[in-house]
């Protein structure tokens, strides 16, 4: 029998935490509320001048866990 391929977790971080981070620091405008998580991660990666992949790679995860100011990075 072929081995059942399990989907790889996209990150070691809790997806809710990632969404919470994006909601808080990269809030979406009313018109763009249907942006996928991938698009929102790209927006964050662009701000921090990371490689824009839309994926939670190591350098993106690192940013997510760093101590920071509580104000958003993009204007609401």
């Amino acid at each position: 029998f072929p081995l059942q391929v399990r989907p790889q977790p996209w990150s070691s971080l809790d997806p809710e935490k990632v969404k919470g981070y994006l909601d808080k620091f990269f809030p979406t405008f009313t018109k763009a509320q249907n942006l996928s998580i991938e698009e929102r991660i790209k927006k964050m990666q662009k701000f921090f001048h990371l490689t824009v992949t839309g994926k939670l790679d190591t350098e993106t995860e690192k940013i997510l866990t760093m101590p920071r100011c509580g104000m958003p990075d993009v204007s609401e």
């Binding site: 101590p67 920071r68 100011c69 104000m71 958003p72 204007s75």
Partner: protein
């Protein structure tokens, strides 16, 4: 947030501040000194002047608090969010809140109060975050020696575009 007339800013150059509560992590005089020096970072390069008040309401009110603290933006415990501050304006506008669950310090251990306060007061004066790494208004905390701290060019340019340069 930008209004049709540009980003929010104070329409006066004489601003007041008040420290409403203290952290037990540092002696009060050290907190007073860190706050005073953090405000000086901005007054050194602009015509802005800051005066401490004790009784009446101030433009910039400063508190240390944990978790939910009455503004609808609860702190999240140690790590993560260290502090936040509001854009210039009436009431809560200009106020700076520091997370009491952090360990505040005057040196490189834990979180340096002077550096975070200087950043937050940038928001109190109307600056948003900068994407320039090394700028004071970069959103991620990183330590640098407060004794040799100089306001980076990016922050200087941005604050002077709001309030002008300090007259000699």
């Amino acid at each position: 947030y930008e209004t049709s007339s540009g980003p929010p800013k104070w329409e006066k150059t004489q601003l007041t501040y008040k420290i409403l509560s203290y952290t037990p992590d540092l002696p009060r005089r050290k907190v007073d000194d860190a706050i005073r020096r953090a405000l000086m970072v901005w007054s050194d390069v602009t015509p802005l002047r800051f005066r401490r008040v004790y009784l009446r309401q101030a433009d910039i009110e400063i508190i240390f608090a944990s978790g939910e603290h009455g503004d609808g933006y609860p702190f999240d415990g140690k790590g993560g969010t260290l502090a936040h501050a509001f854009d210039p304006g009436q009431g809560r506008g200009g106020d700076a809140h520091f997370d009491e669950d952090e360990k505040w310090s005057e040196i490189d251990q834990d979180v340096n109060l002077f550096l975070v306060a200087a950043h937050e007061f940038g928001h109190s004066l109307g600056l948003g975050h900068s994407d320039v790494q090394g700028a004071l208004m970069y959103p991620i905390y990183s330590y640098q020696n407060p004794e040799t701290f100089r306001l980076p060019a990016d922050d200087r340019r941005r604050i002077q575009s709001l309030y002008g340069k300090k007259s000699s």
